[in-house]
Symmetry: D2
Subunit: 364 residues, 4 copies
């Protein structure tokens, strides 16, 4: 168990290293009857492709995906969908100098500690390139959720200390940071240029929304929807914090302030506020699901850093290679992917919550 | 799958409702050879017992635990350890008025939506009383971790807007909020009294530390140590946010600031700072593991609130019964429990990371 | 992981030792809305109770079950159903002489090898008494399957070398062997008396039928219905062989003989024969599911046997205590239980096989 | 969940259809530090390759495997090992006539019932070609087990009604049936020729041995070693029965006859007989593990058969294409694979059975 398999019913199994031959994912448990093709998946992959955003790695990869199984005449058959992307631009020579040295903020030291061996080329398995597989699987989840009337989208809430204060959904794909606030994006660009000039990097916060989720999704104790979403999002390499709805600010509120009052709108249950972020008692409550994730700044910076080598001797390291001075914009679609995969999986799990649902399937 | 089973190797299965006959947990996969008795478990249970802290529910429960299986002559045998606590003071009459009404901030509406039926007495399965089972299982994990030289402890970092600024470990159990800062605890008491007087409630932040965890624990992609800890802690009823090390503040830092430099101390790897919170690439890095959780204010408040009933008609509700105006202090040991269970489980999973470890077991 | 948890969606977690305080099971994932009470469960438990059959142990246990959670007003709520049976007649003194000696055919030696400690009283966790928990969980699965129009029943196909050749379902509960053939049961009684007189024991074969299972249940590669049923039934203590439909005899047939021709009966698919035992490609084919299990003779016999002790010294053992000279009749309901639990679980898993089914639940 | 993922710690995820672009497997949880290369895997694949045996399909596939990830400088790194085999000789035109008709003894009808769609080309996912992925994963398990001093091998016990009565291990790879008895193999060849001439097919029995397994492997209730092995082997397409040690014949024995007496040989525990097939109470007992599987005759036969089509109308079918008149010899290595994968997985799971083992890893 290296922990590369995820899910209960909609299960994904990812594989591949940054400078290996290829990366991919096997999706087991995708319902049959869903239209899937390589273009649908490519659309999501293109949103995290190196080069998709101005402030990204210079590595040149088309990240062209191929479907190898599980789809017949453009329709999922219920059997495992295997997706593959071959690496094209592996410049392993760039990474020779980190073979025996542990980069600060990276997984070099912990990988070596765990396994006693590591593929150091470009970070190997711990490279951000691993998220390619998540994104590809996420595109399949997206196609399924679309059939159920559910839409998931994310955007950058902040870059460094620059926060988006307005929300224009059309703006999100119009700036190099995926921010819904043009003015904030412009400020972020200034900060980014300054940061890059000083051989440094930035982090940020991504907010993800799920619209259209019916009430009752999520299991009641350990597999709560918020708990599963937290794991999903926290498992993305650079994430250091996750919050739902009011999140950390809820800790400072009074109950009377934080409680969302229920109300009836056209005979349907609704809430006057959404501090819960769409989740109560670990189950969706029918309102918008809101999750935020804090991404640390890219640990690869080209200024000299203190560190140690494999012999536990102190050394100075200067990281070369092609790195993203900020990975947040490319992580937007990755965050969506993890939310979609988790949400779909829990929706499939939830189908048998009531015997009347079971009868609906088996007794018409 | 109601999601009441948790873990990969050290698996726990919890059950019970607030006003049912009893609550309990079955621990499957506890290594054989560990000394366990009822007193060890009772110690942890007593820390979350109603009445353990000044500002808690008035429900009177001794929460006496019995070991029903899996322990022989005070030693675990490797078979499932079943623990049970009988309810004594169920006053179900207190809750009659919420049978058909959904309390804001509670799981009433979502439970009803999911299952079409709910045990409304005292919150049923969604009551905070469910954490009793987690705590009992956590005590067993604690006994195992102790054998491995690992200690896990938590404390209250903030109550409402009052934050602990100093750290005195001895102080933690000396004040009714489990804060490591006496002065902050006194301020919190003032705030609490004022809040209770206005029929309101408070939330807060708990910080949990794991000391002595060797490097390399945690799996590399989805089952990262931080991802699993996030799920574990977020699955506790009132938690709305989780962060590791520098957490959300890392999003505002530069890479040069956030990266922890490695250094060598007495020939051993160490770090100059610990923004990573002891986790790099999803694996423990040998330094202290630090996780924080934001708890929302108790949703049960006795002032009138707007809500709806089962017929989706608007109604006003006044919640009676015995509630905690703040649950944070009682949640300290619950947080420890979830961290310990998760950490131990991942340590057991990690044992087979290298073939040389497998040989160590099977070929001496 | 001691392997006491079973299932994907309908998950059971069993616990308890032969001479401990109690045994029980937690059922997580039972759909809400099913009528369950203690009587329904007791009915199945009574069929494996010591004393239910003439040729059984003399241990005196009423095996009265209590429901501790998950059922409200006689209806399952979707939360874990915890069941408990307290032991009454533990005569641990009977077993003192096996504390340091390994009984042939028993799990004493392997338990000791695995865990380095064992509860030797009455076989501890490896006692047949463990099947009580399976049976109780099976009764809940039975109630669910009944709602879906599915019936599962088993009977004794052979005792020692005496085989049932006729099938009268009403006869099954009329003789002490649960055979559907009165004449065979009479022969078995003669054989049993003779065997008991010579301080020996018998085994036998149980056949189990599932009626009404729709086509398509079972997953397509590793979690085939037949594969899962095999595991389920082989996990019952004394089982040494499992077969589906024609089973081992299929290995000697020609394809033309073994293939079941499809036919149409009233516009519905049917088969002219049922060598497949109702399973093709790991999925139910709509015909009767047929599984057979071979039970070895009870290893506890009172005549002297050669063995070794904990110091690996040869010794002779005479097993005292209260044993079943044949456990097959009591295992009939246990076999049903394992088949029902597995079948129900795979039916719940199968609900999401098609996106149109997912839509049926979420989009009406 | 299409059930294409298998294992607890050593987890495999298989994918691919008979006439798709490729087939493969991802192995997650292989311990780091094991020497693996494409030749090692190819050796096992060559033993099930079309054309490996005289009486096999005429499909021409080299089945050349590529390692895409998880291996660095010939050593496993602990990350997922992805293996791929591209299909070369897909003649899909051969299968056009079965698009709308259900072949008797095949999974056509059940696949259609479950998913409402199927890739009918060459049987799609239910083709025996799926076992290629199992075999490739099995080769990796073999390399791991070799490091632990464990050898697993299988052979054909019977073909149709011809049974091997002698055992010469060197003979196994010398005849087209993998029988350890040359004379029986010659008789089987006569039977095979006769059967093929009458456009019919044969089944048989495979026996598999595991040597060198220490006592205590296997979990004690549901995940018994024999239960898991049964599932593993029963999940191979054509298997209809599984037995351990004396198996079905144990049902006809007396306890005194079936019990294996323990004895001491050079101060070590041993058994005078091995009716248990090396497993007691679900755990390995230190003697040879013996499992047998009954394979039904190949359902694809070229003589006319009665069946129905998608409209549930009766029809006659003549199956064309390239089929194995007996698949047993090619299934020998597949059986080994499933046994090895299962055994290794349970050995990894078993590592944490005792706290002293856990200490051995973490505290030296």
């Amino acid at each position: 168990m290296s922990g590369s398999i995820y899910g209960n019913i909609f299960k994904i199994s990812t594989w591949g290293e940054s400078h290996g031959k290829a990366l991919g994912v096997v999706v087991d448990g995708c319902p049959a009857g869903v239209h899937i093709d390589e273009e649908i998946i490519q659309q999501d992959l293109d949103r995290r492709r190196p080069g998709a955003f101005k402030y990204g790695t210079k590595r040149n990869e088309s990240d062209s995906v191929q479907i190898l199984s599980g789809v017949f005449d453009g329709i999922t058959t219920g059997t495992p969908v295997s997706l593959i992307v071959f690496n094209k631009d592996q410049k392993s020579r760039d990474y020779g100098n980190i073979m025996n040295v542990f980069r600060p903020g990276h997984a070099d030291y912990t990988f070596q500690s765990k396994y006693g061996i590591r593929d150091y080329r470009g970070g190997g398995r711990s490279s951000g390139r691993e998220t390619l597989s998540r994104t590809a699987a996420g595109a399949i989840a997206r196609a399924c959720l679309k059939e159920l009337g559910i839409e998931v989208y994310a955007y950058t809430k902040s870059i460094g200390n620059v926060t988006a204060n307005t929300f224009d959904r059309n703006e999100i794909m119009q700036n190099p940071f995926c921010m819904p606030d043009r003015k904030a994006a412009e400020e972020a660009a200034v900060l980014m240029e300054k940061t890059a000039a000083s051989q440094d990097s930035l982090g940020g916060i991504i907010e993800c929304i799920a619209d259209g989720v019916p009430a009752g999704v999520g299991e009641t104790v350990f597999d709560k929807l918020d708990a599963c979403l937290s794991k999903a999002v926290m498992s993305i390499g650079a994430v250091k914090g996750v919050e739902i709805g009011a999140g950390f600010s809820a800790a400072g509120m009074h109950g009377s302030e934080n409680n969302d009052s229920f109300t009836a709108i056209n005979g349907k249950a609704a809430k006057l506020t959404n501090n819960s972020g769409g989740i109560l008692g670990g189950m969706s409550d029918g309102s918008q699901i809101i999750i935020r994730a804090a991404f640390k700044p890219t640990p690869s910076i080209s200024r000299p850093q203190k560190t140690i080598n494999k012999n536990i001797e102190e050394e100075e390291i200067i990281i070369k290679g092609r790195h993203d001075p900020v990975i947040v914009p490319r992580a937007v679609v990755v965050t969506e992917a993890m939310v979609m995969i988790t949400l779909l999986d829990l929706m499939l799990v939830n189908m048998s919550a009531r015997i009347e649902n079971v009868k609906k399937i088996y007794k018409g």
